[in-house]
């Protein structure tokens, strides 16, 4: 009996009388709708739990309405959390019919430091062409003029994709260049390029000058 009384007193000391329970759900995301699992969330330095397979941490926070709490969370490798911890101010809400309010959902972001850029080349009349990414050969078009390749880069990175026609001098335009900028998301870039096949007869015709003959 004495032990129980002491335990009750201790619990009253850690949680003041004014403290009330608040149901909070933390959702750890890298992109909108892309949840991260296994991330530790702490409230005012105390661990609130690890995100589950759905990227959620369900916690019950005790505090007085108006109290400010500092929320911190971990981020996986290749991701970056906010430099400053998030501050949560507790507010009490009641349902219209007097029922218990639903749990608050708070999103915690872990932004990827690098983004995935996938390039798909569609070269009409351009089979077997080397493809250069920022001047470096990364792929070659197949017999249908299609090539796939991908790379990782920081948001805002500029890429130049060039189709090398030096092995095929009859193709026009020569060395066409395409410029792309990586947005703040993974992206697929489609390079549509149409080539004109210049025949030998056409080349000879272009060389000729217009002349007037004397009758």
């Amino acid at each position: 009996m004495t032990v129980l009384s002491v335990a009750a007193l201790v619990s009253c000391e850690t949680r003041p009388n004014s403290a009330r329970p608040f149901d909070v759900i933390f959702a750890v995301e890298s992109d909108p709708g892309v949840r991260l699992r296994g991330m530790l969330v702490s409230v005012d330095g105390d661990p609130a739990g690890e995100s589950d397979s759905n990227g959620l941490v369900r916690a019950k926070i005790y505090g007085a309405p108006g109290q400010r709490l500092r929320i911190k969370h971990d981020c996986p490798d290749g991701h970056e959390g906010p430099s400053e911890p998030k501050v949560l101010r507790l507010r009490r809400f009641e349902g219209i019919d007097g029922s218990e309010p639903a749990a608050m959902e708070i999103k915690l972001w872990c932004e990827p430091t690098k983004r995935l850029a996938v390039f798909i080349v569609r070269a009409k009349n351009g089979p077997d062409l080397p493809v250069l990414l920022d001047g470096e050969r990364v792929a070659r078009t197949n017999g249908s003029g299609v090539a796939h390749f991908s790379t990782w880069g920081a948001t805002g990175t500029d890429y130049t994709v060039e189709l090398d026609t030096r092995e095929h001098p009859h193709l026009l335009p020569r060395l066409p260049l395409h410029l792309f900028t990586l947005p703040d998301a993974d992206e697929i870039f489609v390079v549509n390029q149409s080539f004109e096949v210049k025949s030998e007869a056409q080349r000879r015709r272009h060389r000729r000058t217009r002349i007037t003959k004397i009758e």
């Binding site: 990227g55 249908s144 796939h148 991908s150 003959k213 004397i214």
Partner: protein, 208 residues
């Protein structure tokens, strides 16, 4: 100023055509009654009067090429025609020869794939030497052609913004070519775009 107009040959001209700078500067051809005389280097008395008889150019040529010269010209033309026909016939023969070679190769490939159909049967005869190599080459060709077609199809789906169809297609490609990381990357990006990651994926109808 009754002298003949000065003629010069342009050095860059391959045909060495004579250029008349006066005609170049003034391309309008003078006509009778326009007040501008028709240029004539060798005025002939028979052309002076209105009664002058008009002579056509080929009449002069015919007169020039008579007898032996005419026969020589005709023979030259005949030789030229025969030579061009012979050249055409040779080109046709070359293309038909190449076509025959392709057909023979196709027949060889078809006969090479025949033993595969009977591999599972008991007591099948061993494949002749060299058939396996040809068979492997044939399978490789077919596989690469299939892959080429599959890649083109995927690129078309993405090019036409059919991301749902593209996701299914590239997932199949990624399963078929597990060593090709780029197909997996395409799937990752498409899943992100279609929100096929996380708990929303189960509820979504577009996610496979």
């Amino acid at each position: 100023m009754s002298g003949p107009p000065t003629l010069f040959i342009r050095e860059t001209d391959d045909d060495r055509t004579l250029i008349d700078p006066i005609r170049l500067a003034d391309p309008d051809t003078p006509f009778e009654g326009s007040g501008r005389a028709l240029a004539s280097a060798d005025p002939s008395p028979c052309l002076d009067g209105l009664t002058a008889e008009r002579r056509w150019p080929w009449q002069g040529l015919r007169a020039k090429f008579s007898g032996q010269g005419r026969r020589t010209t005709e023979a030259s033309v005949m030789i030229a025609v025969v030579l061009s026909l012979a050249s055409l016939a040779y080109q046709q023969w070359q293309s038909s020869h190449a076509l025959r070679g392709v057909i023979a190769e196709m027949n060889a490939r078809r006969s090479a794939t025949l033993p595969e159909d009977f591999v599972g049967l008991p007591g099948h005869a061993p494949a002749p030497l060299g058939v396996e190599t040809r068979l492997a080459t044939s399978i490789h060709d077919t596989a690469s052609a299939d892959r080429e077609e599959a890649e083109s199809r995927g690129a078309s789906l993405i090019g036409s913004n059919n991301f749902e169809g593209a996701l299914t297609h590239y997932q199949a490609l990624a399963d078929r070519f597990p060593n090709e990381a780029v197909f997996r990357d395409v799937v990752i990006v498409l899943k992100t775009k279609l929100k096929c990651v996380g708990p929303a994926a189960a509820a979504s109808l577009v996610c496979p």
